[in-house]
Every structure is written in structure tokens, then in C-alpha cells.
């Protein structure tokens, strides 16, 4: 039975989450050098178009279609055949199946877009398109099925991921780490300054992401009632707690800076994503605060070891997502969401085990499969631009355009 309130909220949430991909483009673009601003935005927005098509042709079916052994969906919804205006009772009984499909599309788009932070300023555009198309097909679609598809093995196990801590953040974070290792450091990384070109872009992008996250987490209730409100409140509080914590840490080290505050907010929002529909407001603050500490020191560590995972997708989304998925096993309460479970702090240590299995399996699969995929694509299509193209900048060398 279609409920108009639920449908309206999910459609609005879809639009909010779609906005996050261009927002991410600006978030990343402000952090790169001026010669790569357009290229960096291009990586995100090209995926909005490309993965939209992939999702409609076969991606949605692979993720949510009839289960094959708990690992992947079937081809029964190829070309959205059979995905209509009537609800699909197994996924969302009160909204059109098409609304559920397009809400999920927004997640399928932003996840590979997150990974682009690992290889900005040196990626060959054609190799990138091939890589992400295959990544969406062979890594994202199966992972979405494991966790969210009816019959998916992690869903059957009882592991909980409300809005994509594992499917989106752990998978993108670990994939970023893998592909950064394959593509290598930017030319002269560590020797010359890599100045952020436009901090206002980054902050604008970060807070548009924050805004979109209300749809990301709130919309994952797939209804417009109390659960959506609870998830939306948890989202805002985790982002706020992480932003303030990050600011305090950087203040203790030296100065409270805007780039840090914005980054902290994103780390907190990533961490609360899997938990947002299962936790109380105070738990959300605790999750955000701890996320800021973990992610901050992971960036420091990443820089110290000289790994050029350029925009810290692993440190923010990978670590934030891993912490968030485990935090579900600590902070979840049936009192908040009867369809969820109690965590360790509410008398059910078993949930932490299920969360641990989900975190570890998604992380390992994403890292290993991405590493192999990146190696193969690099060998055939080349992931990295030539040295002089990198020096001139990707805006000119890849796209023939320049910024301000």
C-alpha cells in the first residue's frame, strides 16, 4: 500500500543524496591544486551520469535482484524490467519500487565518487571511466547485495548497516587505499607544496554533503515517521560532535582551522551512517567524537608514512566507516528501532560479533578486489597520465579547460 508521506520523503531524500555527488566534487576540488580543479569535479559528476545508466541497465538488478547464493542478485530486473510504480514488499512496502530503486541509485553513484579522492591530480580520464564502471559492477553491486539484498549473506547473518557504513564508507575507503597503492604518489609529492586551491569550495562542498546526509540517513528509514526523525537527529549530532572535537584537537596542536572543522564533520557523518537508525542522540555524539579522534590521527599517520592517498578517503571514510559499523554493535538499541538489535552496551554482545564479521569481510573484499581490478585496468587502459600531462595539470591535459 503506497503511503504518500513515505513516498514524498524518499523522493526528496533521493534528490538530497543526488546533490551529494556534485557537492563531493567541490569538496575535493578545493583541496587540489588550481591546475586540477575542473578535473576533480569532473571525476564526481561524470560518475553521476555514468553510474545512473549502469544502475538502470543492470546494477540495480545485480544488487537487489533475486538472490544467487547470498552473494549477488540475479538479472531479473535488467533494464528495470519489472520495477514499477507498485511497491516491492520485501524492500519498502509503502513506496513505489521505482522510488526505492532511484534512492539506491544515489548511493551507487556517490560510492565510487568517494574513491576519486585517492587518485586526483594524476588519473588518466579514460582509464578512470573503465575502472569505476567495473568497480561499480564487480565490487559495489555485490557488496550492496551482501548487506541489503534479500538473501544477502550479511543481512541473513543479522549484521546491521542502516545507511551504508559498510557498503558505502568502508568499501570506498578501502578501495581508495588499494588504488592509491597501485597508481602511486603524485609527482614531487612530499617535496613541493600541494596547496589547496580553494578552501571555500571545500567548505561549501562539506556542508552541502552534511545537508545531503539528512536524506542519506534519514531517507534510509524508507518511511517518514519517527525513525526518519531519529536518524536525522543522530546524523546532525554526530557531525556536530566530530566537527567540534576535530577543531579542539587541531587547536591543541596549534590553531582551530576551517579545513579541519569541515573534515571533522565529514568523518563524524561517515561514522554515524551505519548506526543512525539504531541509536539515541547521546550515542550519536559519542560516535562522532570518537570518529574525529581516530580519523584525525589516521591522517597524521598517513602523511608520516608518505602514502599519497591524496584526499584521505581511507582516513575519513574507511576508518570512520569501520568505527561506525563496530559502534552499531556497541550503541544499538531496540528501544530506538524495533527492527534493529541491542548492542553490547544494551546487553547483547553477540551483535558486536556480527558487526565485526561485516566490517572485516567488506573491508577485505573491497581492498583485495579493488587492488586486482586496478592492476588489470592499469595494465590494459593505463590509470596514470604521462609526466608532462601531470605537470601541466589535468584540466588542460585531459579536458582542455581552465579555471579562474
Amino acid at each position: 500500500m503506497i503511503n504518500s508521506g513515505d513516498t514524498a520523503w524518499v523522493l526528496i531524500s533521493t534528490a538530497l543524496v543526488i546533490l551529494m555527488t556534485p557537492a563531493l566534487g567541490f569538496f575535493y576540488a578545493g583541496l587540489v591544486r588550481k591546475k586540477n580543479v575542473l578535473s576533480t569535479i569532473m571525476l564526481s559528476v561524470a560518475l553521476l551520469a555514468l553510474i545512473s545508466l549502469q544502475w538502470a541497465f543492470f546494477g540495480y538488478s545485480l544488487a537487489f535482484g533475486a538472490d544467487r547464493g547470498g552473494l549477488i542478485g540475479g538479472l531479473n530486473w535488467l533494464g528495470l524490467n519489472g520495477v514499477g510504480q507498485a511497491p516491492n514488499a520485501a524492500y519498502a512496502p509503502t513506496i513505489p519500487h521505482l522510488a526505492f530503486m532511484v534512492f539506491q541509485l544515489a548511493f551507487a553513484v556517490i560510492t565510487p565518487a568517494l574513491i576519486t579522492g585517492a587518485f586526483v591530480e594524476r588519473i588518466n580520464f579514460s582509464g578512470f571511466l573503465v575502472f569505476t564502471f567495473l568497480w561499480a559492477t564487480f565490487i559495489y553491486d555485490p557488496l550492496a547485495h551482501w548487506v541489503w539484498g534479500v538473501g544477502g549473506w550479511l543481512r541473513t547473518l543479522g549484521a546491521l548497516d542502516f545507511a551504508g557504513g559498510a557498503v558505502v564508507h568502508i568499501s570506498a575507503g578501502l578501495a581508495a587505499l588499494a588504488v592509491a597503492l597501485v597508481i602511486g604518489k603524485r609527482k614531487d609529492y612530499g617535496k613541493i607544496p600541494m596547496e589547496p586551491s580553494n578552501i571555500p569550495f571545500t567548505v561549501l562542498g562539506a556542508f552541502l554533503l552534511w545537508f545531503g546526509w539528512f536524506g542519506f540517513n534519514g531517507g534510509s528509514a524508507l518511511s517518514s515517521g519517527g525513525l526518519a526523525a531519529s536518524a536525522l537527529v543522530a546524523t546532525n549530532l554526530a557531525g556536530a560532535a566530530a566537527a567540534i572535537t576535530w577543531m579542539v584537537i587541531s587547536w591543541i596542536h596549534k590553531r582551530p582551522n576551517l579545513l579541519g572543522l569541515a573534515t571533522g564533520g565529514i568523518a563524524g557523518l561517515a561514522a554515524v551512517t551505519p548506526a543512525s537508525g539504531f541509536i539515541s542522540p547521546l550515542s550519536a555524539m559519542a560516535i562522532g567524537m570518537v570518529a574525529a579522534i581516530f580519523c584525525y590521527y589516521m591522517i597524521i599517520f598517513r602523511v608520516r608514512v608518505g602514502l599519497d592517498e591524496s584526499l584521505d578517503v581511507f582516513a575519513c571514510h574507511g576508518i570512520g566507516g569501520l568505527w561506525g559499523v563496530l559502534a552499531v554493535g556497541l550503541f544499538a538499541e531496540k528501544a530506538v528501532n524495533a527492527a534493529g538489535a541491542d548492542g553490547l552496551f544494551f546487553g547483547n554482545p553477540g551483535q558486536l560479533g556480527a558487526q565485526l564479521i561485516m566490517a572485516a569481510s567488506v573491508a577485505l573484499f573491497s581492498f583485495i578486489a579493488t587492488y586486482i581490478l586496478a592492476k588489470v585496468v592499469d595494465a590494459i587502459f593505463v590509470l596514470r597520465v604521462k609526466k608532462n600531462e601531470e605537470e601541466i595539470g589535468l584540466d588542460i591535459s585531459q579536458h582542455g579547460e581552465t579555471v579562474y
Binding site: K254, R255, L259, I299, D312
Partner: protein, 114 residues
């Protein structure tokens, strides 16, 4: 009698003080360019998302003004006094001799064009 070009690299925040000081000695025309520079100050550390990074060049302003030989010393004097804080990074003044000057509007050359 000749002319000199005075080219001064100064702190960006000193522009208005310097402008008023040289106006005080009767010099009104000048060109200002936003530049980046470094001297013995070398770079500075700015905040990254976590930790810091070094910027090698700092934003400065370059002022260019052309004066008669006789006005050179008082212009340099006024300019450097106004631009000085006493700390590293105050900048430098370079003095060049000019061969000729043209006022574009009228085509006047030399002294009347200054």
C-alpha cells in the same frame, strides 16, 4: 634630468599607509600588483586538515612608481618608513633608471609625462 623607477615589494597590509606616505611627498601615480614572494623569511606553515604544510611564497604587493631624480630620496624615505615594521618580511625597494616615458592619452614624452 632623468627619472627613476621605484619598485617596492611590501607587506599587503601596509598598502594604505605607504600610499598615504608617498602622497604626502607629492607622488600620486603608482601601479600595484599582487605578487608572491620570499626573501630571508622563506615560507610559512599553514594548517592542513590535520597537521600543517609549508607554503614557499607569501602574498606581497609590488608597488611601481616613477619619479624625477630629485624626488627619489624623499620618495624612498617616505615609502620605507611607512612600510617598515622592523620584522623579517618587510620587503625591499629596487631602483632603476628610466629611459623615457610616454603619456598614452596625449603622446607627451619625457618629463611632462611623469
Amino acid at each position: 634630468m632623468g627619472f627613476k623607477k621605484i619598485e617596492a615589494i611590501i607587506r599587503t597590509e601596509k598598502l594604505d599607509e605607504v600610499r598615504m606616505a608617498v602622497e604626502g611627498v607629492g607622488i600620486v601615480g603608482m601601479t600595484v600588483t599582487e605578487v608572491k614572494g620570499r626573501g630571508s623569511q622563506k615560507g610559512i606553515l599553514l594548517e592542513w586538515r590535520a597537521g600543517e604544510y609549508r607554503v614557499e611564497f607569501l602574498p606581497k604587493l609590488k608597488l611601481e612608481l616613477v619619479v624625477h631624480d630629485v624626488d627619489l630620496e624623499k620618495a624612498v624615505e617616505a615609502l620605507s618608513a611607512a612600510a617598515r615594521t622592523g620584522k623579517v618580511g618587510d620587503g625591499k625597494i629596487f631602483i632603476y633608471s628610466m629611459e623615457d616615458i610616454v603619456r598614452v592619452r596625449t603622446g607627451e614624452r619625457g618629463r611632462p609625462a611623469v
